[in-house]
Symmetry: C2
Subunit: 174 residues, 2 copies
């Protein structure tokens, strides 16, 4: 069990494929995150009738001035593209969780406004949702594991954004 890697062989540059161990960790990582995501989403749906998307939108609106936000502003705040938000907000409007209003200062624009129903639904959802995050995630890990999970996530994200925004460089170097 001790041998960390079989990398005593000279690696020619970086053309190497993942080893079986590395691939196993990848699958554990990605599948577990997926399991957790659906587990927490199912809990939120079951106990509060909200999807994760609903929760994210309601959270942003409940923290916004006047419980309202311009559509684009909301989209960039939660990291969605406008189309996704528009579709989702359409579904939420049918359920009376939010309301769309015209924007006074820009006739193209729309404001998404939190309704009473939406605010109530959000208020009822926070405690169960946070509790589920605690029981399913936080409680499962030691303090060291939690710190490691955060470290890994930040490292991965930094690597991802770093390599993503240099496509020109990658080509130009050739």
């Amino acid at each position: 069990m001790g041998e960390m890697t079989a990398n005593t062989r000279p690696q020619r540059r970086k053309r190497r494929m993942p080893t079986a161990d590395e691939l196993r960790v990848w699958r554990e990582y990605i599948e577990t995150a997926e399991l957790l995501r659906t587990h927490v989403a199912a809990s939120l749906q079951r106990e509060c009738g909200l999807s994760t998307g609903d929760y994210v939108v309601l959270l942003a609106l409940s923290e916004a001035d006047g419980h309202r936000m311009r559509s684009s502003e909301l989209a960039s705040h939660i990291g969605w593209d406008r189309s996704r938000l528009s579709h989702h907000v359409g579904r939420m409007e049918r359920r009376d969780l939010i309301r769309r209003e015209e924007c006074a200062t820009d006739n193209r624009g729309a404001e998404i406004v939190l309704t009473r129903t939406g605010a109530d639904a959000f208020d009822r959802s926070t405690v169960p949702h946070l509790r589920e995050i605690r029981t399913a995630f936080v409680d499962a890990l030691t303090a060291e594991q939690l710190a490691a999970a955060g470290d890994v996530a930040r490292t991965l994200r930094a690597h991802l954004t770093e390599t993503d925004q240099l496509p020109a460089n990658g080509r130009a170097g050739r």
Copy 2:
């Protein structure tokens, strides 16, 4: 840096909500995994025209005896429910990646068979796909981080399955 938690206060039982730090790690964890998932999926789609679901199905079939599998067997092998598999396989059949055949030994049953087209698509996809996993995941992490990621994933999954299959106990204990 040193103060791991503010938990010098006595915690009354386990009614505690996640702290801001814990919540931040949760969001880093779940959002990063989501980013990685879509990043790798987009790469596979762009370079090979396959979705992650396609890849999973094709991988299972390419490893199966005679490149064919009973539908239920395939579903449980890859951890999907039958409905999901049926929908997906329907779409894959339209693209000629697989074929459905009647089962000789059980007239209810169906066999999913890998087509030539599907086998070729899978063969072309493995190297780019594994390379993407390496560059986006494995290469981003140190050996210690990789080990920690695996450890965290296994711990989380164990905790999840453990608490999931004792719902009666949780209720009954009260």
